[in-house]
């Protein structure tokens, strides 16, 4: 019989998911709903209350997360999710999760800067810088084509949206 530590090692993802889910559910029920849902004065019956569904979802999130946490503690085998795009290939050698998530983390940071700078620098300038950075993150190294794509695609998109769809970008 496996020890609790060994079982937790097997299902770390589920354990964290369960815990965070319970916290999320409790946050919804005890903090989010009471502070953000104002009850109108004309309410006479419970089904008129706007907080019924939010409370219900908070309870359900906590409940299902508790079940997943319980399954993680019981040491249920983590089934290998079928990754459809690699379904037929041999599994590549193990790569550190940190290494992989670093590239995604960088991408998310780029996206954050893009949204923050969009109102200030405008669509064209921000998109050119953004596209260049993301192409580099994705591993594209042909500098000439990188510049062409970074400049050409935003110009093409802004022309298309403004001339044909009459959408005016920042």
């Amino acid at each position: 019989m496996k020890s609790v530590k060994e079982r937790l090692n097997l299902n770390k993802g589920d354990f964290v998911l369960g815990l965070l889910g319970i916290l999320m559910g409790m946050y919804i029920v005890f903090v989010a709903v009471p502070n953000t849902v104002r009850l109108p004065s004309n309410i006479r019956f419970f089904y008129q209350r706007p907080d019924v569904l939010p409370y219900t979802t908070g309870i359900l999130i906590a409940l299902f997360s508790a079940i997943i946490l319980f399954q993680a503690l019981l040491g249920q085998e983590k089934k290998e999710e079928q990754r459809a795009t690699n379904a037929c290939n041999e599994e590549p050698e193990e790569i550190s999760r940190k290494d992989l998530m670093l590239s995604v983390g960088l991408l998310i940071v780029c996206i954050g800067f893009y949204i923050a700078l969009l109102p200030t620098l405008g669509y064209l300038v921000t998109s050119i810088i953004f596209l260049g950075c993301v192409l580099l993150i994705c591993g594209y190294r042909n500098i000439l084509f990188l510049l062409l794509i970074s400049v050409g695609v935003p110009i093409a998109l802004s022309t298309f949206f403004e001339r044909f769809l009459y959408v005016f970008l920042p």
């Binding site: 953000t36 795009t85 037929c88």
Partner: protein
Amino acid sequence: MIGALQSAFSLLANLEVLVIMMIGIPIGITLGAIPGIGGMIGVGVLLPLTFGMDPVPAIVLLVSIYKGAILGGAFSAILINTPGEAASAATCFDGHPLANKGQSRRALQAAIFGSAFADLISDIVLIVGAFALASVAIKFGPSQKFWIVVFSLLMTGSLTGTNAWKGLLSISIGLFIGAIGLDPLQGTPRLGIIVPQIGRIEGLELVAVLLGAFALSEIFINVEKLRRNKINNVVNPGTQVVGPPLTWADVKESLKAFFIGTGYGTMTGMIPGIGTSAASFLSYALAKQWYGGKSKGVKFGEGALPGVVASEAGNNAVSGANLIPLLTLGIPGSAIAALLLGALMLQGITPGPMIFIDHGPIIYAIFILMILANFSNIFFGHILIKPLTRVLKGNPSIVFPIVLLICFTGVYSINNRLMDVGVMVVIGVFSYLLRKVGVPVAPMVIAFVLTRMLEQNFRLSLILSRGDFAIFYDSPINKVLIAICVIASILVFVQRARAKRALED
């Protein structure tokens, strides 16, 4: 109906619609063939761009891309052993071995014909089934609609993914996200957490949530894969299209597999939550059983042509039938159906039992074009065989940044609101993290779409009955619907437990 059909044909007399369909199919095939892109991203990215178009061309463009993409997934599955669409994963099992034996042309043609004709049969079922179901659904009251939504959510949550509880958690999260915004009956703001303005709008923008959950999370996962492939020096090998063409003997041998895939795919397409991947795998497994594991001396898994046909017929037969609950009840049964729901609503078409009355000519025009699109699939499938081998050898790292930028621009263009782009990014990051821990994202999105319908029908039923809960179980239809919900849930859990025990054995 005759009048609506006549009006539909007059809508089609406009050549622009046919041209748009002929553009959509090759775009879809190409997108579907590129691993990591697929029809979902293609439809999602182009969805905001259809805002300025008329309803028929807009919907036909998106449906053509979708149909083309499912076929396109088979190309990469057969040629480079990596399915472009999740639905084509089972095609790898026999498709790539056939390519390795120098018979890639035969495999591709089998996939093209199997896909197109299965899709055609599914579209005919859609036309007949949608009209029949709409005639019944028009009599449904709010309490019946409530139970139908509950059934859809239960099925979607418990059938998707490897763990039913994670699916149901995904549904609950979707319901929470769907509750953000103005209360539908009282009009009071709710759940404006961190950004109070979010609580004061009529719900989060549908396209932003759809693109965030599907397109952005998929791009994040593919950026990881790009990094992994770079470290492992994995290069797309590409495969030449060689070998003899499909023969009549091949067609006769594969007929059983075709009917198994088509029948199973059409049936499962009508039930929310099952999706193209499951239909494709199960069709393959059923065909393998039916053929006794071998076809013309070749084992399934080593290049048996009926394996390719069963998988492709299964995944394509889902597409038409999947639109039945969408059009007649407004319930999207899959992620792509949720995107098409967004497209319909952008065009001012509200799916439901009244759709044939309010928008009959438009819907019939779309049905006719869907049937024509299947023949276009055959035509363009053959033409694109050689060009796609060059595309598949290319560098995928160029595509994702461009798709990302198009997503941002498209979402912004809907309401000219940067907040929608922010919502898309937050949902995208959240969905990526959920997928990393094995929580499926499709149920979350379907629940988000159905939240308003669920809540409105629940509260409306109680308003009509003045708070008496008997309205939910009094009528015979409700008793049947409750029984279906309970029995289906029990069957799903029993089936999962059996499958798990079989795996352990």
